[in-house]
């Protein structure tokens, strides 16, 4: 490389940083930077009326799993916390599974339409995706309520005699999350299926494979990256969900997101809230790393 080319190269790199600077500054000040404050707060003492007091303490982190016994000062497992974590994990896994089970045929259907119709079907999936999450959650409330659509139809058909009480509980949260996060499963699945060479199917059938065998041995392995991407995209926001459990859980059936909020509100335990936030962040980052490693390995093997 000539010195002139070298200088040119250094200049374009400097330009790259200068041009990216406004975005980087904004994101540091109002997104990534404050996360460090949360990390620091998770190691401080809790203030009496919320906030924190300066002094190192592991109480916040310990408080995730343990609580002080009311009678003596020994630490015992906090059952209430474990219930909330288990509910969050269980509902998130269930949501991921069911969105896959119904999302895969949907993505397949879209990908096998003629090109013009495909754009329209895709647009129909995208509209709910961009529609206000709160409105969509409220729409589910409208459908599940005692006098709602589901009960009205079931009553009319004579399947039930008294309206079902479906709202405000894990079931309603599960239905709500499935509804709001479904597009996040369909879109990456569609992207994977769209790249799939349909001639492989005919090859499979020509070799006397059954439909189930073709699905299991030909289709699923090839669209695997889409499955992993969709699962992460659904699982991560489900685990951190706040709006859906608040609107459909009725306040008592909390998930991690609401539990974190509680610590900054009535709970007045900012260190615990901070430690919970950091723990949630770690879980999400691990999930993303697994995805990145998986995606890279897929690429490496062609």
């Amino acid at each position: 490389m000539s010195p002139a080319e070298k200088a040119q190269g250094a200049r374009t790199i400097r330009n790259a940083w200068l041009l990216s600077a406004p975005a980087l500054i904004l994101l540091t000040v109002a997104a990534a930077g404050p996360l460090l404050i949360v990390l620091v707060y998770s190691f401080l003492l809790k203030g009496q009326y919320g906030n924190v007091e300066w002094g190192f303490s592991l109480d916040g982190w310990r408080g995730i799993l343990f609580t002080k016994d009311i009678f003596d000062d020994t630490m015992v497992l906090a059952d209430a916390h474990l219930t909330i974590f288990w509910r969050s994990v269980k509902l998130s896994i269930l949501t991921t599974l069911i969105t896959f089970v119904v999302g895969f045929p949907t993505a397949w259907f879209i990908a096998t339409r003629p090109p013009k119709a495909r754009a329209l079907w895709l647009f129909l999936i995208t509209i709910p995706f961009w529609t206000n999450l709160l409105i969509r959650t409220y729409a589910i409330n409208e459908v599940l309520r005692k006098e709602g659509l589901v009960n009205a139809v079931l009553l009319k058909l004579g399947v039930i005699e008294v309206p079902l009480d479906m709202l405000y509980g894990p079931f309603a949260i599960f239905v709500g999350m499935t509804y709001v996060y479904l597009p996040l499963m369909v879109l990456p699945l569609f992207a994977a299926i769209d790249r799939f060479d349909m001639r492989l199917l005919e090859a499979g059938y020509d070799l006397y494979a059954s439909r189930l065998q073709v699905l299991r041995r030909v289709i699923l392995p090839i669209v695997k990256p889409g499955i992993v991407a969709g699962s992460i995209l659904v699982f991560v926001p489900s685990l951190g969900a706040y709006v859906t459990p608040r609107v459909l859980g009725g306040g008592k059936q909390m998930m991690i997101g609401n539990f974190i909020e509680l610590q900054f509100g009535q709970g007045r335990n900012w260190p615990l809230g901070s430690a919970l936030s950091m723990a949630l962040l770690v879980v999400v980052m691990v999930a993303l790393l697994i995805y990145v490693r998986f995606a890279n390995r897929e690429n490496a093997h062609g």
Binding site: G9, T12, I13, A16, W17, L19, S20, P22, A23, L24, L26, L27, T28, V29, A30, A31, I37, V38, N51, P105, T106, W108, F109, T112, F123, L124, I125, T126, I127, W130, T131, N132, L133, L134, I135, R136, Y138, A139, I140, N141, E142, V143, R145, E147, L149, Y179, L182, L201, P237, G240, Y242, V243, R246, G257, I260, E261, F264, S277, V284, M285
Partner: protein, 267 residues
């Protein structure tokens, strides 16, 4: 009737499932819209067609103020985010890989990876300290927070557009003695235009829809339309919420349709 011929791409039950999924996606939204025209006081009982709830929402000063606040924040934040994202896209695309590039990508996409509740809590703590230190309680915090999380949504379409752009036009301009600024102003920017508009629209919709971060960052009396609605959902529900939702829904669908047509034409 003849039996349908064997088709390799058809899988049993898939089309039925897909049709049911599309129904399940749209029926709740249509139910919500339908009940906004309900004459009855309750969200539960159908009492005939009426536009009363729209009139009521329109006359509600809290709704009006929240709407204006939402629009002000969304316009400011999407403008700031789009400007920052355009510059970042120009800086990071169409050049050789360099050290720190991954860092820039991770930073820009960071709002897509970190759970919203975690960012919300972080901003609550951070801005609470600044509010105490400076005494400033205004909308600036919300605009700043929204600008930050809108950046990746503005960045992606702009970057996609840049990557698909033909370099030869810019080279031609430079060959004809255009200065770098002239080339940018007269060639690059007009070509990039649809990408920038698409990015700005996505950023606008994302800002307009945000609930969680806004709920944690806002000071007293700074409700946006979504946080106002969230607050109302704790109380006795009236079809007024449906009317507000429907109006917000219409706005989103209008913007998305424009986005759809805009990006499709360029293919």
């Amino acid at each position: 009737m003849a039996r349908q011929s064997f088709s390799a791409v058809r899988l049993p039950g898939f089309t039925t499932t897909a049709v049911l999924v599309f129904l399940a996606l749209y029926v709740p939204i249509f139910t919500l819209v339908a009940y906004s025209f309900n004459a009855s006081q309750s969200v539960a009982v159908w009492g005939g067609f009426s536009l009363d709830w729209y009139a009521k929402a329109w006359a509600n000063t809290q709704v009006k103020e929240a709407t204006l606040r939402s629009l002000l924040i969304a316009v400011s934040a999407s403008a700031i985010a789009t400007a920052a994202a355009t510059m970042a896209a120009l800086g990071t695309t169409r050049r050789k890989a360099f050290r720190g590039q991954t860092f820039i990508y991770v930073m820009i996409n960071q709002p897509l990876m970190v759970p919203e509740i975690v960012t919300a809590v972080a901003l609550l703590i951070f801005f609470a300290a600044i509010k105490v230190a400076t005494g400033y309680q205004g909308l600036g915090y919300l605009i700043l927070a929204h600008s930050a999380f809108c950046i990746p949504f503005a960045y992606l379409p702009i970057r996609a557009r840049l990557e698909g752009m033909d370099l030869s036009l810019e080279t031609a301009a430079a060959d004809l003695y255009a200065t770098p600024w002239q080339t940018f102003r007269r060639v690059t920017l007009p070509l990039l235009g649809p990408g920038i508009i698409a990015g700005a629209m996505l950023a606008f919709v994302i800002s307009l829809d945000d609930v969680v971060i806004t709920e944690f960052v806002k000071s007293g009396g700074q409700d946006t339309l979504p946080t106002y609605m969230l607050g109302q959902m704790r109380r006795q529900l009236t079809p007024e919420i449906n009317a507000i939702s429907t109006m917000l829904l219409m706005l989103t669908v209008a913007i998305l349709t424009a986005f759809f047509l805009l990006t499709r034409k360029n293919d």
